[in-house]
Amino acid sequence: MSTTSRDDLRSSNLNPSSQGFTLWSDARTYRVAGQVIGVALVILLIWRLTNNLFSNLDRLNISRNFDFLTQPTNFAIAENWGFDTSLPRWRMLLIGLQNTILAAGGGIVLATILGTIVGIARLSSNWLVSKISTFYVETLRNIPPLVVIIFFSIAVFSSGPFPVFREATELKLPFSDSNWLILSNSRIGFPSFSAERNISAFWLLFAMTFLFAACMWAWRTVKSSKTGVPHRRVQWSLGVFVVLLVLWFFLLNGPYDWSWPSRTENGRRLASGFGTSAAYLSVTLAIAIYTASHIAEIVRGAILAIHKGQGEAATSLSLSSYQRYRFVILPQAFRRIIPNLINQYLNLTKNTSLAVAVGYAELASLTQTSIGNGAPAPQSILLMMCGYLGLSLIVSLIANVVNRSLRLKDR
């Protein structure tokens, strides 16, 4: 009976005139009209604004095309990766994007590690540890990240304790003449690897070893599920991977060697090793410790949100404190952490744009410099926005894939 009445209703809706309905008494008319009016208003607004933009640009004789991208850059940039000022502007913007990614990547790694540690430490049974982490979170969370960045750039580097690069402090390795760290107020030198010999052979063997280790993982998993013996797949595959890699390394006569940081004769540049500028370090460190305070809250919240009984059940099975965290609490907390963590990663990526204030050559500050050097503002800013949107999209795509693979399948 209910179906017939619903059918009646539907037919009356579909055919309003037959029941004495008029067009203006039908809800759908309003729905369609509302949408049409809404969209029309927005289109009208956008059309009007673009019209204004074009007429104002024409009035001021500013170009409306993207020709400026192929013209030479004509200004020097820091953090240039061998960039030459005669190269076209699109190359300059790509370097900006690369520097943004470097700052965001470094920041994400540091912030995740620091944030997780602080978040767990806030729940520690040790009063001192939990108070210190609370202090950290409540201080850093409530200070503008821009102030933190400028603080690092000024108080830690430019007028901080480190000497100028010419008189940089060199920290020596024990029993050796080479440095492991060069500290100055403008550039910091780290050790890096230098490629020596048989590189392609090494990477080929590396890939094969990786595949072999993956097979080992699968084999242990299958064996464990068939026979019930403990799988110990981490030990097996990691062990095989590391042992083989060390073997290849020596058989190929050391394809890579350390490149310890050192300065050139006149002490102006780094001759070897890997150098980062103080600007990069201040941006990355500042954003990392700022975001870590937010991540710590997320981690803490997620652990607190796990039902009390879970921990009690683990304790009643006489699991140790480590086992309780490793096998019961953290796996569940992790699922709650991920979506919020994605958000923080996105914020961190966007916050790298604050590097404008300390002159780290990333996308936003290069765009600003480029506009200052004659590039038309609308197109430059549009490109910059697309760059950040693209980065945001990539970060959230990766994170969503991870999130989906971690989600509970059975609920």
């Binding site: 104002n56 040790n126 001192l128 200070i143």
Partner: protein, 486 residues
């Protein structure tokens, strides 16, 4: 919920001694339970105690002896109000007093209202004493203390204690008002808030807008009191009528006869500007955010997609990029357009452009906050509204929205805090907020290299005091409103 949970985990993490709630631990027992309960905790405690002792010694020595506070002390006025015309400084003083009065009245009325609610439901109620609240706001009190110390004069002292006295006096009066009179107190608080704004900016510009809001507020309250059924038309009449009356008063009386001109926000700077830019932006963003949130959950696909596109586009780009747009592009979009010129006084000043951008930016985030509140409101509420035959407008405005907004207040406060922190970004586009003022302080001959870190520490502390206090308040509100307990 969070309170319950935290108790749960604390008991789980703490050792057995701490589990006995009835027994008060001795100092020795407390230390055993919280600092030395395991051997590794004992080692950790000892190491950390040494580190803290060292760092504490260094920071105290730095703060009280070695730090160069001279640039801060000498330029305190500059940091607070920047290049605000010195002849007009009294306006800021009166603004502070008016704000204090408004705060006292509204706070007292809130306490009175909850006392009445408690009386209705027969539950016991005791108002929190004022000094307890001051203890909760220790961050701000500390900031005030530091400012007074740095200013070191009798006038700032009188002003500060005058404000505090005003707050507590008016709070005391307002909380004792009968519920019938209290509505006038709310109204008075609102008037004081507007007055605190107008005393600085004069009667130019936005005065009629605020007054319209005031009359609308009055109209809606009156309608609420008598249960008049056609609320929407009456609300509209209140807003439109109020606007018309206010506009007439503004045009013919205030502007024509009195013409109380003031200092427009283009001349505001320093921390004063940070606070005001954040406040105006969140107020201006609210209507758009509400519309976007409702639009995002609308059943009309075209409207939904428009809202989603706006929200996601804004949320995908950094604020500094949008501020670049405001600084160098907004003019291209709206200048030389007769239609827009009719509403706006183009070309907009730099601060106005920045505030427009910050409002548009915040609207997208507020929309997500309000959407969270909408999703926390059970579907059954809407269905119940439908089942008693309410119209969609009535369901939204009288059933869903009150619950949604109540649930999203803490998150809105959070949004306000992050907006205040973001207001420091205005320095990058050369608006003279506090970080920019710092740059000008260090361009003075005496302070080019002196105390560059100390001024930053001071600025960080000023932001921290506000952000910390408000975030505490929003957490308290969250518990108070029972958000998340559903």
């Amino acid at each position: 919920m969070s309170e319950v949970m935290s108790n749960g985990v604390m008991s789980e993490v703490m050792s057995a001694e701490a589990l006995m709630p009835s027994k008060k631990l001795s100092a020795r027992g407390w230390m055993r339970a919280n600092l030395f309960n395991r051997w590794y905790n004992a080692v950790l405690t000892l190491i950390l105690a040494l580190v803290i002792a060292y760092l504490g010694f260094r920071s105290i020595r730095y703060l009280f002896w070695t730090a160069e506070w001279e640039p801060v002390r000498a330029n305190l006025t500059l940091f607070m109000i920047g290049s605000f015309p010195r002849d007009e400084q009294w306006r800021v003083v009166v603004q502070l007093l008016l704000l204090a009065a408004a705060f006292g009245v509204i706070w007292g009325s809130m306490i009175g209202a909850s006392r009445d609610r408690a009386a209705q439901s027969g539950s016991p109620f005791s108002a929190e004493p004022g000094w307890v609240a001051l203890r909760r706001w220790w961050g701000l009190v500390l900031l005030l203390g530091v400012l007074l110390l740095a200013a070191w004069g009798i006038l700032p002292l009188v002003l500060a204690f005058g404000c505090i006295a005003l707050i507590f006096m008016l709070r005391r009066i307002a909380m004792r008002l009968a519920s019938k009179v209290r509505i006038y107190a709310w109204f008075g608080g609102y008037v004081l808030l507007i007055a605190s704004w107008q005393i600085v900016s004069g009667t130019g510009g936005s005065a009629w807008f605020w007054a319209a809001g005031l009359l609308a507020f009055w109209g809606i309250r009156t309608v609420r009191k008598k249960d008049l059924t056609p609320r929407l038309p009456l609300t509209l009449v209140a807003i439109v009528g109020g606007g018309a009356v206010a506009w007439a008063i503004y045009t013919f009386i205030l502007n024509g006869l009195i013409n109380f001109s003031g200092v427009g926000w283009d001349n505001w700077s320093g921390f004063h500007l940070n606070l005001i830019a954040a406040t105006i932006s969140i107020i201006a963003a609210f209507p758009l955010g509400l519309i976007l949130a409702l639009g995002r959950r609308s059943s009309l696909p075209a409207i939904r997609w428009l809202c989603v596109t706006y929200i996601e586009l804004i949320r995908g780009v950094p604020l500094i990029g949008l501020l670049f747009i405001g600084n160098s592009l907004l003019g291209f979009f709206i200048d030389n357009d007769p239609f827009i010129d009719f509403f706006l006084d183009t070309p907009l000043s730099q601060i106005s452009r920045a505030i427009v951008i910050m409002s548009l930016f915040t609207a997208a985030y507020l929309a997500e906050v309000i959407r969270g509140g909408l999703e926390a409101t059970p579907r059954g509420q809407t269905e119940a509204g439908q089942s008693v035959g309410l119209s969609p407008w009535q369901i939204t405005s009288r059933i869903v929205m009150p619950q949604t907004l109540r649930a999203s207040i803490p998150a809105i406060v959070g949004q306000f805090i992050s907006l205040l922190k973001d207001s420091s970004l205005l320095s990058i586009i050369a608006v003279s907020e506090i970080l920019r003022v710092r740059a000008s302080v260090h361009s003075q001959g005496a302070f080019t290299t002196l105390g560059t870190a100390e001024t930053l520490v001071f600025i960080a502390f000023a932001f921290w005091a506000f952000a910390f206090t408000w975030s505490r308040e929003s957490q308290r509100l969250e518990k108070h409103l029972g958000v998340g307990e559903r």
